[in-house]
Symmetry: C4
Subunit: 338 residues, 4 copies
């Protein structure tokens, strides 16, 4: 990956330093850009909360060839991993590659490696359109996320998603805090259970709500009919001083695990981090910024190499904790200090 | 705000670095100046204690246009926000703007934006006098604070406050530790409940006691007849190694919430920080140093921009936590780790 | 004090940086020198443990002129403060002032300000001899400490102490770990209760045991007949990874408070720190390194200024916590987080 | 030791900085090299977990000449100390000394000082072979560790160990996570109780399992017939985000103390650290990286000096905590904060 990182460091100059540890410190407050909002406390806490979680290493067992594959929302995946929806290459990543080159690397790299890439939304419209075009080219192998716009825009975009041939879509409901969009005349806002339910019904495909950080919202999402939720603080880009997703995931898992597919993201950097979130209750894990760095720095090949890296690390971590299958990760691989 | 901050950084050189995060580290011990006393542990702890508080983000609800206004001490305010009383431009801020220019920016900027600015006191007398003059010019729209001087000086100053047309005044009782004033022949000192009661009675206007950090003092303030108290460690400038105000506010709120108007300051830097203190029990929040920076760097316009920034952030934070009204902020928007 | 510190920084170059905060970080491992042993964890923890302790600020009360004086071991003192026994100017402080100049500044400065200075012991003998000479010159106003040598040397030194006219002496029993002394043919070692009892009896004057860090040793000291104990980890210079004295003081106070005079040192830098240790159970407090810096940098005048600084800070802290007398400091001035 | 460290710093340039405190920060991620894997969280946590442990200093007792010797696995040792198995001088340490010079310094230096050195294993084969040759030269005074290879290689190597005249051997079972070896066609992997039992039986000598970090594995090791286990996270080189060994040792000791010889390593840097692990339940302690630095920088003499340093520190720590014998270290010398 070294070459990919070196190239990314050059192309993303002023937007991302491609730090040895991607932890939100150097880029604090750089929104737009790749940083966390304000003091970046939410971004940093994602990494910190995950970092506090430690494994119970186990070596006296017979797990030598763990099964990394899972079945998720009716889809078979080689790894419990997705590329999180990120768009806006020009204002977030420096614009040295095009939105199209970027999202193609994500969608195709993921497809090639047996996982799935998500596409983003925003202003201007080509962010959304480019993502959908790539998903269409990939024969529906990709999950588009749209923002919680006013009904008219929202329903038009749901129609476009359907036209692109996707069988699953999502809304990042936590984008509702982006007052800047409102000031540009493109308001986004929260919805109650009833309104969300109608949106999900209207979409009539598998539906993911991204940005759930409380048991209450998780239960509300289930009631609204969501097929999956993503425990996420939006990479720390919508509200300063949120807990890390690893801190809230266990209670959410306890509350809704059997009723909804449970995804999570936030600070995941390695296969070990993936395994941690699975052990805390997630069915699969999204990774955000590192995929952007891999795509900008190495295109589709960079994305594939990054997936390979995660795969190797995940396999190693499963062997060293005695986990047979990524679809059944026991909570007791996590060390609990006395 | 960038231009305001750049200007402030020049004008306050040697007194305030206008750090990316105003946290008491770079200016530790610089009193006079803008720093905290001694090791600045009290200043730093204000920021640290607030920083540990994390939100429960909520997006599945119908709050899209939260009401930020409150009614406080009989006054309607556009935001639950006040500019804290700070004076002494020459020895605390570098003296590149005059005391008059400074306090005018505070008082008028706040009035223009529908909130209220406080004015300070100290030696020499023109600190106090300039503040009162500005409040008089603003038709009483401002709250003067005086220090706990000996009775003669104290009562004379209360009379001057009345002459200025203010309908509310305060004493920062925690200034009582300033032995330097004593050495200048201008002693300040604590008072018991009975003496404070007489002072408040004599003032015969709405009365605020600033510098309450314990349940005992909060109860004593109520008994003495105070209309409001400010939970505050004086920005860490009177005693080293105090807790942060966010650490003591909940217990004080539990004890006296229904009996007195509850204000708080200490390390508040954003609209999210305002919301935190409201959730912990405050009716409204004071901000200190950032107002000084805005006033020195941008005059009245700087103050107004800063208020706008806080307003936007507060609105966003309320939407993302599902809070309808700034006058009723539920405690459960705060994340409690299990 | 600025001039004193500047001079000390020059004279102690290579031995002490006279840091803004004297916390054991910059000089870690410099023994001989002014640092803590090994990683300096014990030194640093003294400062850290004290730093975690926070005050309950109180302003609604009638304490305006607190009484700082105490009676200790039959002696009236203006402040609950002593200069800790430190010797070895040449190898610990750079040797730019003589042992005699140094200890004279300590003993006389303390006497002048109504407190008491202690003198140290070590190899070569002139450390001990110079201290005793100064105490004799000061008409017994000083407390000599000797190390736990083999009986012969120990009893000879006790006789010399008596000859110097001191009415109180001590042993820093924690010096017993100094294997370097053993290798120089001058072994020091621990003693059990019985042996210590005989030493104390033989001395037939008020006797202090310095270096008590457990309830067990505190009780043993009482049983051996000590008049006073000093809770101290020897400034972190005898064993790495000890707790800070502020961490162990409360339990020791609970166990032996009424049976022995209780002193403490370790990381005390300000009048507020003095008040903290009193609130945790100490009758009086010793300060070490800062007295050395004051003595080297400013001689007797430097020592006196430092005492004045502590006095002013202590008075201010007592006013701001409502403490009437240094001889009765209530534990509830310490903030207990809920 | 200064000269040894200076030489090591030159010879290990780019591989080890020989930091004042060897804590995993500067070399994070440098595997191969001397660092911890990934973020080096496991390496750093070894040091951090040990650092949090503080001693109860005791001086009123009669322990003046503590006995540092122990009997371990039928062998008399001057100190409860072993040099951990480390190999691969060329790719881990810079290759400025030969594998042979290196391991000879370890094995002979340890033998000379009455303790025992372990030898490592890996690819290429001369790592293992050089170690065995040195042990043979030292008349069996050394413990070889081999990796958990496939059965054929494993049993061949066990035979070679026997040929070298060792009476004790070990497997570092935690090496099973090294997927790189697998990719080189030399797979290593975990074994269940039954398979391990057969390996141990086949070896028919005293057998140590290294890399136990849970009570479950400790019990499994006992069941498989191990004579000793080493609580170790492999210096943080096999899995990121493990707890420090000091954090898991007490529970493991509680579970299996009477059934197996209990060794531990991880972050041990001083005689005090050795004493801490003994107090937490270990019978003896291994040290890794510092022995490598001593061997590269000073050869056999460097190793001997390092052992002397540990010995002096251990003796001092035992005197200052009142511990009579290294074979019976009571748990109550550890400070427990209230």
């Amino acid at each position: 990956m070294k070459e990919t990182y070196d190239t990314a460091r050059k192309l993303m100059k002023g937007y991302c330093r491609v730090c040895p540890e991607c932890n939100g410190i150097a880029c604090a407050g750089q929104v737009p850009g790749m940083g966390g909002l304000g003091t970046a406390a939410s971004f940093k806490e994602n990494v910190t909360a995950l970092g506090k979680i430690r494994f119970n290493m186990r070596l006296i067992h017979n797990v030598t060839e763990p099964d990394l594959s899972i079945s998720l929302l009716g889809r078979q995946m080689a790894l419990p991993l997705m590329a999180a929806p990120i768009g806006g290459v020009s204002f977030n990543m420096g614009g040295q590659v095009s939105e199209e080159e970027y999202i193609r690397a994500i969608v195709r790299g993921c497809k090639e490696k047996g996982i799935i890439g998500c596409t983003g939304d925003g202003v201007p419209d080509f962010i959304h359109e480019t993502g959908l075009k790539e998903i269409k080219d990939a024969k529906g192998h990709g999950i588009p996320f749209i923002k919680p716009w006013e009904d008219k825009e929202l329903f038009e975009k749901i129609q476009k998603v359907r036209d692109a041939g996707a069988d699953t879509m999502g809304i990042d409901i936590d984008a509702a805090g982006l007052i800047t969009l409102k000031k540009m005349g493109r308001p986004v806002f929260p919805r109650g259970i009833e309104k969300l339910g109608k949106i999900i019904q209207q979409a009539s495909m598998k539906f993911i709500l991204k940005g759930v950080m409380t048991v209450q919202d998780a239960r509300a999402a289930v009631e609204a009919g969501a097929d999956a939720i993503v425990v996420s603080n939006h990479g720390g880009r919508v509200l300063d001083y949120l807990p890390g997703s690893a801190s809230v995931l266990p209670a959410i898992s306890d509350a809704v695990k059997d009723q909804v597919t449970l995804l999570a993201d936030g600070g995941v950097r390695s296969g070990g981090d993936v395994l941690k979130l699975l052990a805390l209750g997630a069915d699969a894990v999204m990774i955000g910024r590192p995929f952007s760095v891999a795509a900008v720095g190495g295109g589709q090949a960079g994305v594939e190499s990054y997936i390979d890296k995660i795969k190797t690390e995940l396999e190693q971590a499963m062997v060293l904790t005695g986990v047979k299958s990524a679809s059944q990760v026991p909570g007791n691989i996590i060390f609990r200090p006395i």
